[in-house]
């Protein structure tokens, strides 16, 4: 964990505070730590892709981490140890730790069993570990590994390979520790919303323990984490609408940037999120204010662009090694398939399958919205980005299913429950904000 935190501080420190040991903004550690971890994950992945060797990435990463951690320790002693932690903050830390430890057991004690976890994500990790490289020598071009979608992003596989490299061996348990490292920042971000309220309990139940769980956070699948980070991104964007705190915006962008490194659908989620974020920023001010916002926050935009370097690097490698996605998006055949499925009625099967997956979430948000109308409440603005995100992402997935070259019935049966996790997650975030607004109104009365 310190390995990632140290690397992350090298980016987060200058961005938030203008230096590695100085402090300019009053931001809690609970908000800084997840940013550090997410940044550390991206920096580590970028480093691994850049040097390609796992051993070298670990050595260089460790050096960077030692520098970053040392500066972070100085920063904490200078500023955070002087502050007396409030009861609320202590409870949030205890809650974060408890929830993370709760998930640690199934992550580490249950072996890799499920299909995609073995055939794709941790198989890629094994390939990287065996070759001590994420480069061509890992075997991406071997015909015998075509079933494992070698074009998929490798943030978690690379991290899992590094874990196995540090341990010195491979088994079906220890590489899964990589899942814990990506879980911790998400849980910490959730607990920044913690307060003694029914709505926060709902948030935890809905996001961590309902359809986003059922083992998708510990079985080795990436869909749960994609949905988790996408949902939390929209949660933070919703809070930004109310609070206008820049830390919420930065955290939201960080959650969105990490998505394309988890799964290919993450690119769709990132575009959706960035589009909605732009919409929110433009709604808050006019174009002139948007321009000055860019000039004032140029560091954040630069950091965002730098964070996309690993995405560009992997794209270049895929081109060089002829690793293409089997969906054939953008080809003439894909458009013909869309047209064919729209005309032969197959689209109804897609809609039916999707509805079955999101029925519960729609029921919840529908009832809460109607209840808010019954309480004479104005529309809850904070819920809008999440609900729009759910709709746009769902639309994107409908298009993917329309153009898939595989048999539609087979594709739907194999994947619809996982691909709709992100849609459900965003609808749940919208539900949380409506419930939260009702609870605040009740408290105010």
């Amino acid at each position: 964990m310190a390995f990632l935190l140290g690397q992350g501080w090298l980016a987060v420190g200058p961005i938030l505070h203008g230096g590695l040991t100085t402090r300019k903004k009053n931001i809690s550690l609970l908000q800084e730590l997840p940013l550090m971890l997410m940044s550390g994950l991206i920096i580590n992945y970028g480093l691994t892709l850049g040097v390609q060797s796992i051993t070298i990435s670990l050595v260089v990463g460790s050096i960077l981490s030692i520098i970053g951690t040392s500066c972070f320790v100085i920063y904490v002693f200078r500023y955070h140890t002087r502050q007396t932690p409030t009861r609320s903050m202590i409870n949030k830390w205890i809650g974060t730790t408890f929830i993370c430890l709760l998930f640690l057991s199934p992550i580490l004690t249950e072996p890799l069993t499920d299909w995609d976890a073995r055939s794709i994500w941790f198989f890629h990790a094994k390939m990287i570990y065996a070759a001590d490289s994420i480069g061509q020598s890992a075997g991406w071009q071997q015909p015998s590994v075509g079933f494992s979608h070698p074009d998929y992003p490798n943030l978690i596989p690379a991290l899992a390979a590094q874990v196995a490299d540090v341990m010195g061996f491979w088994n079906e348990y220890i590489p899964k520790a990589s899942l814990f490292f990506i879980l911790v920042p998400a849980v910490a971000l959730l607990f920044t919303f913690a307060r003694r309220s029914i709505s926060f309990i709902f948030l935890l139940l809905l996001i961590l323990f309902s359809s986003l769980s059922t083992a998708t956070l510990w079985n080795g699948y990436m869909d749960g984490y994609l949905a988790l980070y996408f949902s939390i991104g929209m949660l933070l964007l919703g809070r930004y609408i109310a609070s206008t705190q820049s830390i919420d915006l930065v955290s939201c962008v960080c959650c969105l940037i990490i998505l394309p490194y988890i799964k290919n659908e993450g690119a769709l989620a990132t575009l959706t999120g960035i589009g909605l974020l732009t919409f929110v920023l433009l709604r808050k001010g006019n174009l002139i204010q948007a321009k000055s916002l860019f000039i004032v926050n140029w560091k954040y935009f630069l950091a965002g662009l730098l964070a996309l370097i690993p995405f560009a690097l992997w794209g270049i490698y895929k081109q060089q090694w002829n690793l293409s996605n089997d969906l054939e998006i953008g080809t003439t055949q894909s458009f013909l398939r869309i047209f064919s499925r729209l005309t032969d009625g197959s689209y109804k099967l897609i809609f039916q399958s999707i509805y079955l997956q999101i029925e519960g979430a729609l029921l919840l948000v529908g009832l809460l919205y109607i209840a808010s109308v019954a309480l004479n409440m104005p529309f809850v603005k904070e819920s809008l980005p999440a609900l729009l995100a759910a709709g746009i992402f769902c639309l994107g997935m409908i298009i993917i299913y329309l153009l898939t070259p595989a048999d539609l019935v087979w594709q739907l049966s194999r994947s619809i429950d996982r691909t709709m996790l992100s849609v459900n997650g965003c609808i749940f975030i919208g539900s949380y904000y409506i419930l939260n607004a009702m609870e605040n109104k009740k408290t105010a009365l």
Partner: protein, 181 residues
Amino acid sequence: MPRIYNRKRYVFLFLLFVLAWIELFWGNKVYGIFIIAFFIILLVFRPPSFSIIAASALVIVFFTTPTIESLTELRNSNLNTISHPKQPLVNILSPNSGQEVLPLEVQEMLALLQTHNITSYRISEQMEQNLLIDQRIREAAWPIQFDTSSSYLFVSPHDLIIIPNCVVMDQREDVVLEYCH
């Protein structure tokens, strides 16, 4: 009564019936009846109670999502680890542990690959048609690679036919290893 409030009540009633209609005819009839019953209660209690709304939302969460199953799985996993910590620690810290989740045929193939220090292998066409066996051996055996030109061939004893130039090299209960010249 203010006009805005009346308009909102009509919107609310309209949305209620749309939701109930969708559920009754396209979704789950129980949910549809639940929606109607829930809001009749909501209309009766004035002012609308947050507790009823929260309780109803909780019921929906528990009945339409696998929340209870998830919490149960987490509880069982943690209780098991706390009660018997030794085995999980041994599993985590042992090389190549966890292979018992693989199909028996794959476990036997891995054992044969290791015993005979084989660096590449292939499997019979019948075995290849079994997607589970095919993918599991390819990923479990890595970095020992599946190679269509390999001399080492795994076949199932049930599909054993005489293949020219191939001799049985070793055998387990569910797989036969042949060497083909």
